[in-house]
Symmetry: C2
Subunit: 333 residues, 2 copies
Amino acid sequence: MGGDYAPAAPVAGALLALAELDPEHRVQLVGRESVLRAQLDRHLGAEHAALAPHAGRIDFIDAADVIDMADKPTTALRGKPNSSMHVGLKLQVEGKSDAFVSAGNTGAQMAVSTVVLRLHQAVSRPAIATVFPTAREPIVVVDSGANVDCSPAELVTFARLGAAYAECVFGRTNATVGLLSIGEEPEKGNAVVKETHQLLLASGLSFQGNIEGRDLPKGESDRGPFDVVVCDGFVGNIVLKFYEAVAPMMTGLLRKNGADDALLGKSFAHLDYSAYGGAPLLGVNGISIIAHGKSSARALKNAVKVAARAAASRLDAHIGERLGESAPSGVKA
Amino acid sequence: MGGDYAPAAPVAGALLALAELDPEHRVQLVGRESVLRAQLDRHLGAEHAALAPHAGRIDFIDAADVIDMADKPTTALRGKPNSSMHVGLKLQVEGKSDAFVSAGNTGAQMAVSTVVLRLHQAVSRPAIATVFPTAREPIVVVDSGANVDCSPAELVTFARLGAAYAECVFGRTNATVGLLSIGEEPEKGNAVVKETHQLLLASGLSFQGNIEGRDLPKGESDRGPFDVVVCDGFVGNIVLKFYEAVAPMMTGLLRKNGADDALLGKSFAHLDYSAYGGAPLLGVNGISIIAHGKSSARALKNAVKVAARAAASRLDAHIGERLGESAPSGVKA
């Protein structure tokens, strides 16, 4: 029910995802059932008629409350116990669902995810991991907005969470971690970053050292490529939003000077954020994918695929291992 | 004597600047005199022969010590008292020079500038103001790397320094200040930024409120354009280096897909950092312009022109007024 283009974009995104996923996958649409059913009918009666064979793999889960984009997280958490977020996330706790995706109110999703799914033992605050396209492979930046003031220990936890995500969802082997700072030497950075550097050296992670702002768009520093970048959510969010805005600004300048769409498409296709769909809230016991409020049907399709990949790769169990939790019986370490 | 292309780039930069500046301007080349004279002769004997008429407005000031790019600031400050930085900055204290420009060791330049020129009374730490090209007019980002952990009061001082710079050197009237944060509401941001927001509201500055990463490349937020962006040097340096690297990355992608130089030149000319030449160290009693270590002759020419503009617009006196210092006799408020 959330996001700027709901319910059209989420319902279409679910259909598009089912068309691309293996046939054993199903999507549960959680929200006001009558609204969602009517929306699905509209899609099937018009532009997505060809996707009708996949509609049988959609289930409807009714949820009476709707969280508004302007609701404060606590209002949403306590005042709307039957929201699509509460109901959708509880399905995971009950073993009826493997992952949750929303383009709704981010603060509310963080709060409800934390309360309903609860946190891994070693985690004090969950973090958002965002994929940054680079000239090389995409990298994972964590935290990109959930936590503004972080302790060194929390940043080390973010590194473990990000490494598990890069390994499970992007197939990286022994993911390499870089610490975002203002110089490559260990003594460069603010007080928290300098202490974090020392903790990361002793963390057992594949730590590459400090990386700088200039290394982000390259996806590598002088010491080689990295998979994960650790920073607090204040810095991460500023850099993320800056990155999202620089590309359109440059594209606008190129268009004004006569660049054609073919050139722009070929050059910048892999910089398109909607290709990466959603950012997981890491640290919760389960899978909660935060999609951009402006997510299109295509972006939500990709968010559902990210969720499916996270579930299939047992991201949550892998995070438990990374955090040193003993594996539950039946799960191979 | 400093910078990656010394002494060729600084000597050529001085000649190029003199050719564009009014005839009453002179440039003092400070360093090993024999080296500098030989370098000037080489330029006049070859590619810059046409600039010979301007060579008479160059003075040579001998300085025996050379600060290495790898020297620690304290080593340079105490161990090399006859460096070109010490000698060149002392000329200002002695009233023999109006401004200082260097592409040398940034940390050393900050330390020597602070000790030789001293700080304005209300300033506890000097800050670096960097010009960011945007889709609109360029903006001034302060601090962009001098101070990593800043107090709210220091950030407010940076705002005053940046406003004076935008007014004197970029001709802005009553420069508008934005505070870099992760949401436009006053309660968004880390602890320091939230407190700074309140102080800026009461500062008498033309404060626009919080701006976000996405507003930087646009040079405006939903509330309109801004001239100055305030942040600590950790965030500022990361965003600056990221910006410097994003444009070449995107240009590379365009070239690979067949974009021609004419299109790229027309589109991105105003994003070229060398057009802005140098970043002033604000807060010192005098003018000290920090040029990029990789500065070309063209970049250094522009740095000298920025220095001339700062001196002609009485930047230093304007900063004194902005900081509430009583104007020295003979200086109009």
